[in-house]
Amino acid sequence: MSVSDFIKGLPIHDSKNFAHLSNDHGIRTSQKRASIYLPTEDVAEQAQLIVMDKRCVLLRYLTQQWDKKTLQRKREHGNDGNGTNANSTSNGSNSKKRPRLETNELN
């Protein structure tokens, strides 16, 4: 495959773009700058605020690990001790089954 094959069929968004641009007069040099955008009015809609989770990364990591472990232990524990209660579906925390996660939460 030659280089010219490589360059063939380059994407076209609008075939008119750059159509009137000729470089017959050689390379143009430009130092033109656009006018400055000077907003003086506040936009009505409120911007979303990006806030940093200030909790310590290590602590959070450890609590996450801890939660995972305890959850697992609880589950194991629950399996052992709550065998008689197996049909109960009313109470999430006591339940053997975990509630189904909403699909939108996954996203």
Binding site: K8, A34, T40, Q48, I50
Partner: protein, 1140 residues
Amino acid sequence: MSHHYVVTAQKPTAVVACLTGNFTSPTDLNLVIARNNQVEIDLVTPEGLRPLKEININGKITVMKHFRPPDSNKDLLFILTRRFNVMILEARMVGDSITVVTKANGNVSDSVGILSEGGFIAAIDPKARVIGMCLYQGLFTIIPLDKDASELKATNLRMDELTVYDAEFLHGCLNPTVIVIHKDIDGRHVKSHEINLRDKEFIKMAWKQDNVETEATMLIPVPSPIGGVIVIGRESIVYHDGSNYHAVAPLTFRQSTINCYARVDSKGLRYLLGNMDGQLYMLFLGTTDSGKSITVKDIKVEQLGEISIPECITYLDNGFLYIGSRHGDSQLVRLSSDAIDGSYVIPVENFTNLAPILDIAVVDLDRQGQGQIITCSGSFKDGSLRIIRIGIGIQEHACIDLPGIKGMWSLKVGIDDSVYENTLVLAFVGHTRILTLSGEEVEETDIPGFASDLQSFLCANVDYDQLLQVTAESVRLVKSATKSLVGEWKPEGDRSIGVVSCNTTQLVVASAREIFYICIEDGSLVEKCRKTLPYEVACLDVTPLDEKQTKSDLVAVGLWTDISAVILSLPDLETIYTEKLSGEIIPRSILMTTFEDIHYLLCALGDGSMYYFILDKATGQLSEKKKVTLGTQPTTLRTFRSFATTNVFACSDRPTVIYSSNHKLVFSNVNLKEVNHMCSLNAQAYPDSLALATKNSVILGTIDEIQKLHIRTVPLGEGPRRIAYQEASQTFAVSTLRIDVHGRGGAKPLRNSASTQAQNITFSSNILPRPGGGNSTTANAEVGQEIDVHNLLIIDQNTFEVLHSHQFLPPETISAVMSAKLGDDPNTYYVVATSLVFPDEPEPRVGRIIIFHYNDNKLTQVAESKMDGTCYALVEFNGKVLAGIGSFVRLYEWTNEKELRMECNIQNMIAALFLKAKGDFILVGDLMRSITLLQHKQMEGIFVEIARDCEPKWMRAVEILDDDTFLGCETHDNLFVCQKDSAATTDEERQLLPELARFHLGDTINVFRHGSLVMQNVGERTTPINGCVLYGTCNGAIGIVTQIPQDFYDFLHGLEERLKKIIKSVGKIDHTYYRNYQINSKVEPSEGFIDGDLIESFLDLGREKMREAVVGLELTLNGERKGADVEDVIKIVEDLTRMH
């Protein structure tokens, strides 16, 4: 207290990032360019790139990315700044105007994190679910995107990988999956992590590849359905998708490292790669489609051609690319499937970039009080000198060699209904020549009705399709269609016509003291009136003041002997006003004109100066007399129209365009050496042009839009680092760095450049031994190894030709250059400091100071002196050489035996990087110990430390503002001013340099120089500024720092505070926060500096907002305090803008 005004004259030009997307509307294709603290939005049009808006961001942009929310048909912009501010911006078009909406903003800094070694990296999930950033070691910062939430909770995730070189999100993953290149003791590896956005944690590692190439630096995610990632290394390219693996090591990759890429098609088969050598490659993924999935089967890489050294590349449309550069001009290029000279890349447009400005020289070559800046700009192959001066550019389209032109006019001959002119009449001593313009061709022709054997004083198209020619003998009226004479007017007797002026209906002729008023009618010239004036007429004008009118009610006359400007009324030629011009120089050109509805009378004198007045059209009265110096030779004034406004061209040895801005006259230099005559020309092949007669030729060209800084490029092909000007030899000395490559026969330059093509080339023969033995040459270098070769270039100040190149033997590098007159020696020398740089030494231990003399086109080494360290800075100090060598500051005197002898030295620095001197005082900028003031005691022959700033600061540049005030820029882009307190009561206090002013500039200054870009004392100034220091930055900006008095500071500070409230910050980064002086965790409010960029934006506000901005603002005028009104403030701010 210390008060300063800092303003940018040339905005930053280095491009940090660029991207293409649909921002202003779902169908608009936009190019977005980020430069330091600005974002430019361009529109792609059939005519090329059209700049729409430039948006100021209150921060230094480090990353700019774009993404498209799932339900949107437009792209959004994500920006991360150096101070960890993040923002998401949306551009909206309302009618013709853009509104930029901040969709989200915040700060993602962490108070305890250790900054990541690989720099700031940010990537956005292809489904726009999350933004990920590598800012700190061992942390991955995520901002989950949710357009319905009022808050976006950013979180740091713990990541095992400490040193990350690049991070990207993979396409086609159920959960957002980030992939990183990271380094550990075993090498570099690629690893992917899946992110659980709900629990904000990494859930599992999707896949990894250990030990990719040791120099792998870049990841390119491949879009679905192919997926996977391309890993770019120094020599090889790897494609990996967890299961499938392909590698290729293209031979064409040579020395350099790929540093940016652009995806060409949305399927992700083709990519453009650019490297630090300025080579452009195309990468092609060969695929097989098995029906179920598409898999990569091979990788092809081809070299396309050469571009500017890229920082970023983006594919626009129809084969056009934008190349953003930090090291050279940015470019618009086209890819062509037919190679031209082996290159498939056709440059279409260059966008001037001055970055990085490593050094500047401010020189006044014309000796007229106006400085030009010569910058050392660009690096490697894109290195250049840039000549920057304020003025207007003439784009030359054609040039005809014709010496001795005495007058020039453009005419329509035989085509009166056309809008275009077709004829150029040129007057010479004793004859007149007529040129016809047909297309681009110019040929000589003849108008039978014209007297071609006489010198024309005036030619013009007049009413009734007639032409007028005025010679010393007569006024000739010629029918345009037949070109034959239809009427003639002669003064009685043997008197000859001296000066003349006409419009399309009226003619005023003067012969000595007599003046005639003649009306132009169909086929005849009718004398209406004549008068005798008290003195001979030197110049006159009858231009109608109102453009729509064809008749004038006034005649302006300049008289000999009593040196006056006189206004006569028409038709009776009555004197209605006389204005005595002071002095003895006669008026040579007089002109009535209207700028922005104000009538002016301009009167240029024989010495190049010009008076101007406001002219009352009804009474002929002149008022508000002002004087400017335009040149040194008799000046001729002509009007021309450009961009639908009236301008005046002053022809002289220093051509000037006079125009009006905000009801004030502005005088702007033109980038031509000398213009004797000019006329506007609107021919078919040369529309809206000017014809300019110089000493030997006629130039046909167009004038730039009224533009202030004019930049000329002298390409060097190698990186300039230091520049010094020497008036005695009319040359510049420039130190440059060239990269040679070691081949089998020794080191060879990679390409031709200034140092290899100089008229004379010499080599440094003397090589210093390496301290502690060992081989000091690079003879044993490996084949293919790059070698830095330093050269000293001597460049002509007028032609910028390289007259001489002196090449140093590697590893000798030039660290400083200056021009100096030493001791009683009548010669002026170039003093060059060098050092031997060995990669295994922490700091060079040996260097030289060499004295060169350039004379008679020869560069001779006069003396050299060995140094035990690197000489970082050289300053001429009362006829001696002052040098900062390692931790020492030393003074060398020049003996009668032409040798450098050390007179005294002081050691109290870490590394004395920067030196400035004034009188006996020396300012030292240290590597990390801020600034120190030394004094040289001449009698004792010692240095004394006077005072120092005790706060540690890593210095980038220093300057002495006045005897007590010192300016510095440190490495976190802050400016500060320290002041010596001579009045302090205790010795301890006197030894301190308290910091009195501080300001965050937001760009790294490499050099300060005293000097001014504008002519000193042109017109009147209302602003009390004191001194002027120019600076050049890493990002290619040029700015000015000047001192201002307290009351003016208070006034501007009041305006600044009001403007901060009125002008809303895009990205909602507070202006006060932006200008805060911040070094690591230390934050102090900005004080003592006025942000001139903010102040000058006042002029761009609407009238209503201007009124709002001046409410309650007080200023002192003529010693009286009063409330400021809009007009006052406009006047003051305009005066400030006139500094640049």
